[in-house]
Structures are given as C-alpha cells and as structure tokens.
Amino acid sequence: MIRLEQITKRYGDTLAVDQLSLEINEGEVCVLIGPSGCGKTTTLRMINRLIEPTAGQIFINGQDTSRIKVEKLRLSMGYAIQSVGLFPHMTVGENISVVPHLLHWEKDRIAARVIELLKLVGLKAEEYTGKYPGQLSGGEAQRIGVARALAVDPPILLMDEPFGAVDPLTRQRLQSQLVRIQQEIKKTIIMVTHDLDEAIRMADRIAIMESGRLVQYDTPEAILSAPINRFVRNFIGADRALKRISRISIQKYIRPAEFININTSPNQVMAEAKKYRWLWVIDDNRQLIGWVDRDSLPGAASIEEVMNREEAGEISLMDNATLRDALSQMLGLGFKYIPVIDDANQIIGELALEDIEEAMAGEEG
C-alpha cells in the first residue's frame, strides 16, 4: 500500500502540489488526472523521489520513503514515461536488461526474462531482442518501455502518460493490452494521464487534481455518477452517462433470447414463439446465422426462404462487451434487441434497449 501524507511541493512562490493525501491499495490501478499544470506529474515523480517534496511524507507498506536510499527505492518500482526514453545505443534486449543488470542477475536468468517480457507485451522475442530503438515504431517502443519497467517484476509501477505519444488507435490497443497484463500480474499501478477515456478504461480509482489539490478520489463509476463539484462535472463532460456505461459489463443484463433452428417449420414457429416479432435463427451447431420477421412466416415453405442471413459478428455482441458497446451497436443497426454470443459464436441470450435505458436511469438515481 502506498500512502501520501500531506505532500507539498513548492517552487519559489508557486505551489505545484498542495497538502495532498492519498492512499493507493495494493494491486489497484490509480490514475492521476487533471488539466495540465495541476501537479499530477509532480506527484508521481515524488513517489520515486525524482522530485523531493517540500513537506509531507510518503509511505510504502508503512515505510517512510525518505529513509530509503533513492536508487534502492527506484529499483523497487517500475518507471515508464511518455517519451519512453529507451537507450538508443542499446538493443531492445539490452534496454530491458538494464535493471536486472543493476541487480546483478545472472546472464541466463536475464535472457529468459527478456523473452518472457517480450511475449507478455505481445512482441516476438526472436525478432525484437536485437533491434535498436531507432528501428521501432512508436507503439512498439512504448511496449518495450512497459516491458523494461516490468523487468524485475517490481510490485509497483509508475507510469507517466505511457501511451501519450502514439496515435489513438494504437493507444486503445495498448490500453487494452495493459488491462489484460494487469489482470495477470496484479501490480499497484500509479498512472498519470490527461485522457479521461484512458482513465475510465484503466483505473480502479481515479484521483482528479486541480491546481495542486486533490479534488475527488473514487472509483470511476462513483465519480461519473456523483461528481463532487462543478470542476469535476465540467472535467468529465456532458457525456458522463455514456462514459459511465462504458464501465458496465453487459453480463448482468443478458436475458434469455428466443431463437429458432433453421430447420423448424414456419407453422411450428408461429404456434410456439408468440412473444416477439423478431426471432434469431441458429443452425444445428447453435451458431447464430441470421434473423427472421415473424410476420413474414405465414405461407412460407421454410425458415430458409424468408430469413435474413447475416454475419454473426455484425449483428451481435460478444459477452465481454460493455453497455456502451451495446448501445452503439444497437443504434447503428436500428435494433431494439441484440443477441449476445460467446467465443464460439453460440448464442447465449439477448440484450434489450429498454434494459440499457433502465441501467442508465437507475445508476443516475
């Protein structure tokens, strides 16, 4: 656990950070966010003492960091920054091994760790170990930066806009990759960003800062549903309802769906499925293959004849989607209901627009 107690940083007459107190639980992702100049980077850099606080104390697992030798303190936490800062004269492999070398790891252990880390960040070890930073794309360099920060498996990871310098598409990919990695490694991560979507996607807790002060510190859901003041409300913007449902998984809202086998006779369907007008059509493997309008069934010889055949991926949601994904998919298709499928394209239920509306309204109150 990391605890910041009444931390203040003063540069001459300006207060960069003003009596900030913060507790970060083990294994959680804490995102520091705020407009530029709010002191978020200064706060981060005081944790590994790249900046020394003017007043206040920082404790890691109860130990006052000002009493730990700086190099030792920094070796115990990973550090990844926006400019990445890969050493241009060292290969990717050598860059990742910098900290293991400083800790006098054995050669074989370092080599094995490099391969393991490259795999973790989704890069081919054989291809990348010998490359120089100058030969990498922005996204690749950022991933190497993260791998280097994780080199000795430190329990704490400090990240200063780690995905700030790449294009939006790559950034989203890297974010979801980090989310996946985090599920695997469970580090205590303190991340600075100015991108609210990034914060909402990654954070267990968001700390919103304004001119050196902590304004609100809570889970993304809580901040989005109950912004503490006007500053926070403005900061998170008018579309906070949408942002909030982007944190909510559809799991809880999946309801049983009515679906029919393609080989059933239209008459039987007319008799049995009376509840809905639109029905999902599956094949013998329970795989979604399209939908049918009940009103078109009378007189049809087979389902095949009147059904709308579709690509499963285009008219359905995966079961790990968020309510926001669901909403945007339904608006795009003009559906009031949308089927939910699993990895094997098998239908497991459906989602109704009214449920999403209810979810939004419910969380509001």
Partner: protein, 392 residues
C-alpha cells in the same frame, strides 16, 4: 539524342578545366643554383613532343568523360585516366629532371613549376569525383585511391625523382628532416592530448552547472579570438618570469621559449573545439533518456558512464579531430618561439629565399594533417554506437 549523350559532372569538369589550364603554364625550371630563380619552360620544352602530346590527350579525354552520359562507367574511367595522368607526370618529371641536370653544372637545380602543381591538383579533384561514383565497387575504389601513392613511393625509393630540387633539398637535410618531423608530431600531439585531458572534464562540467557553462565558454571563446601568432608570443613573458622565479621549472625544461610555451599555446588553442563538442555531445542526449535512467534506479554516475558517455563520445571525438587537424598546421608557428618542428624548414626557407626548402616543410605538414584527419575519422566511426547509425 544529343541530350542523352551529355550529362555534366560538375566536379569532374572543374578538375578537367584545371588540368587543361595547367598545360599552358610552365612545368620545369632549370635554375643556376638553389636560390636564384629563372623563367620556367613550357610543357613542350620540359617533356618533349611525346610527353606533352600524351598529357594533352589525357586531359582532353577527362574533359570529354566529365561531360559524357556514360553514367555507370564514368567514375571508373575518370579514375583510371586521372591516375594515368598523375603517374605519367611523376615519371616524366623524374626523367626530364635527370635529362636537364645532366647537361647543366653540378649546382644547378631543376624545380617543379606551377604547371605540375596544377595538374596534380586537377587530377586530385578528378579522383575525388571518381571515388564518389565508386562507393559500391570497393576494389576499384581502393585501386583508384591508392594507385598513385604506391607508384610515388616506388619512384622515391628507386631514386627516379632524385634530380628534382625538392628531393635534393631533402637529401641534404635528411637527418634534420626526420628530427623535425618527430618534433612536430610531439608538439601537436602533446597539445591535443593536454587539451583533451583538460577539455573533456571542462565540457562535462559546463553541462552540469550554469555558472560553469558561462565561465568556461567565456574563456575558451576569448582565447579563440586571439590571433594564433600573438598567442605564441604571449607565452614568452609569463613563462620566462615563472622560470626565473622557480628555478626547478627550468630544470623541467619549462622556459619562456622552446617547446614548453609552444605546447601550452597549442593546448589553449585546441581547447575550444574539444570543450564545445563535449558540451554539445552531452547536451544533445534526450532528456527523456536520462529521466528514464534515473527513474529506473541508475545512479547519477551510472547514467553518466553508461548512457551519456557512449552517446556523447562520437561528437566529443569529432571535436578532438578538429583540434588535431588545426594543431598540425598551427604547430608550424612554434618555430617562431624556438620550438622547431617542420616550421623550421618553412621559416628558414623564407629567410633564405629558398622555395624548395619551404615546400619541403609544407608538404609533410599537409600530409600529416590529412593522415591525422583520416585516422580520427576512423576512430569516430568506430566509436559511434551501432544503434545510432542510420537512426537519425
């Protein structure tokens, strides 16, 4: 059609024009003795019909080649022709120097005139142009670069050129020549080494501290504005005063005149390029790289040793290269405060009005500068980290 056949290589054409002009100048001069001057003889008078016609034809070929559209072969053909011109000129100079001096009294001298120098210069320009086109054919590249120097060494070793006045001058000063050559190397070498030892820490210090930066560059910049000749003169008064005050300094060889003040002056003069390049070398290291290094837990020293030094080394060495080449030439002036070196030939030659003696001093200074430049370039290339090549 015509346009396809013509493709101007400006550098080669420039060399060819110099060569063609050289044909109009005087080539050899027969002088009654080493100090008296007399009019030089023309190309025809110097080399006879065959020699003169061959050179004219070869130079015309060069001109045509430098205008021709032969894109792929041109570099090679130009290089070969230029080497042919150089070798032919050297052989003819030696042959005709012997011919002319046989018919003249013992103390008469045959010296080289502007025509030969211009032809050598023009051919050098051609070889330079040819090398640019031959970067990929390494064998030809080396043959064309080294063909003439090898032939020159053979001609010198076999005594073919002994009747040329510069060589006669060399033979009468043989021992002195090597002595001064080594003195010269010692002078500029000590100056550059001292400047490196002092300059690199100063350059590093300047990056660490704003006051250091200001004062270091204030002093080194001022030093650079002092005329070099004056700097050598400045050394005399304080050093002789010092050596009178502290006699043990005299025992170490530190006096107002001689090598000590010369080396000090060379050191001071070499300081700016070393300091400036070291400073820039370290300053240009990306701040993010240093931040990452410190943030990961490297100590200040480890960041310096493992990140800043390797990244700054090529630029710092480039500064030492500049300083070395500059110091080779500057060390000539050391003669003026009694430190000898190759400057001795130059200034004694000026004093005695013996042009051959001046040239005997000047040529090795030029060659030395080129050699030092070549060696330092190689060192810079070796020291450049692999990851930086082609990345920027």
């Amino acid at each position: 059609m015509i346009l396809r056949l013509i493709k101007l290589d400006k550098v080669a054409a420039f060399g060819s024009v110099i060569g063609l002009i050289s044909l109009l100048a005087g080539w050899l001069t027969l002088r009654p003795n080493r100090l008296v001057s007399s009019p030089s003889t023309s190309l025809w008078g110097s080399f006879g019909n065959y020699g003169a016609v061959s050179l004219v034809v070869l130079w015309l070929i060069c001109l045509v080649l430098s205008l021709s559209g032969l894109r792929n072969r041109r570099g090679l053909l130009l290089g070969i022709t230029a080497n042919a011109i150089l070798i032919l000129t050297l052989v003819l100079v030696g042959f005709n120097a012997s011919r002319l001096s046989e018919a003249a009294p013992e103390i008469a001298r045959v010296s080289i005139s502007s025509g030969v120098w211009l032809t050598l210069a023009g051919a050098y320009v051609l070889i330079y142009a040819a090398r640019q086109n031959l970067q990929k054919q390494r064998t030809w590249y080396h043959l064309i670069s080294w063909g003439t120097p090898v032939v020159l060494v053979i001609l010198l070793a076999t005594g073919w050129l002994n009747q040329v006045s510069i060589l006669e001058e060399f033979h009468s000063y043989r021992l002195r020549f090597f002595e001064e050559l080594f003195r010269h190397i010692r002078l500029f070498g000590s100056g550059v080494i001292a400047a490196t030892i002092i300059g690199i820490p100063l350059g590093v210090w300047a990056t660490r501290n704003r006051y250091a930066e200001k004062s270091v560059f204030f002093i080194t910049n001022i030093v650079q504005t002092i005329p070099s000749l004056a700097l050598f003169g400045f050394m005399i008064a304080p050093l002789s005063a010092l050596s009178f005050a502290l006699p043990w300094l005299r025992d170490l060889g530190i006096t107002g005149v001689g090598p000590a003040p010369a080396v000090i002056a060379l050191t001071i003069y070499s300081l700016l390029p070393v300091v400036r390049n070291t400073y820039v070398g370290i300053r240009q290291v990306d701040a993010g790289v240093i931040d990452a290094g410190l943030g990961m837990g490297m100590s200040r020293w480890q960041v310096f040793r493992r990140v800043e030094v390797p990244l700054a080394a090529p630029l710092a060495l480039e500064g030492i290269r500049t300083a070395s080449v500059q110091a080779v030439g500057l060390a000539t002036l050391a003669q003026l405060i009694g430190a000898f070196g190759l400057g001795w030939f130059v200034f004694t030659g000026i004093g005695a009005a013996a042009p051959d003696m001046i040239i005997l001093g000047a040529i090795p200074i030029i060659l030395l500068a080129l050699l030092v430049d070549g060696i330092m370039r190689k060192i810079v290339r070796i020291s450049t980290p692999k990851g930086l090549i082609g990345a920027t």
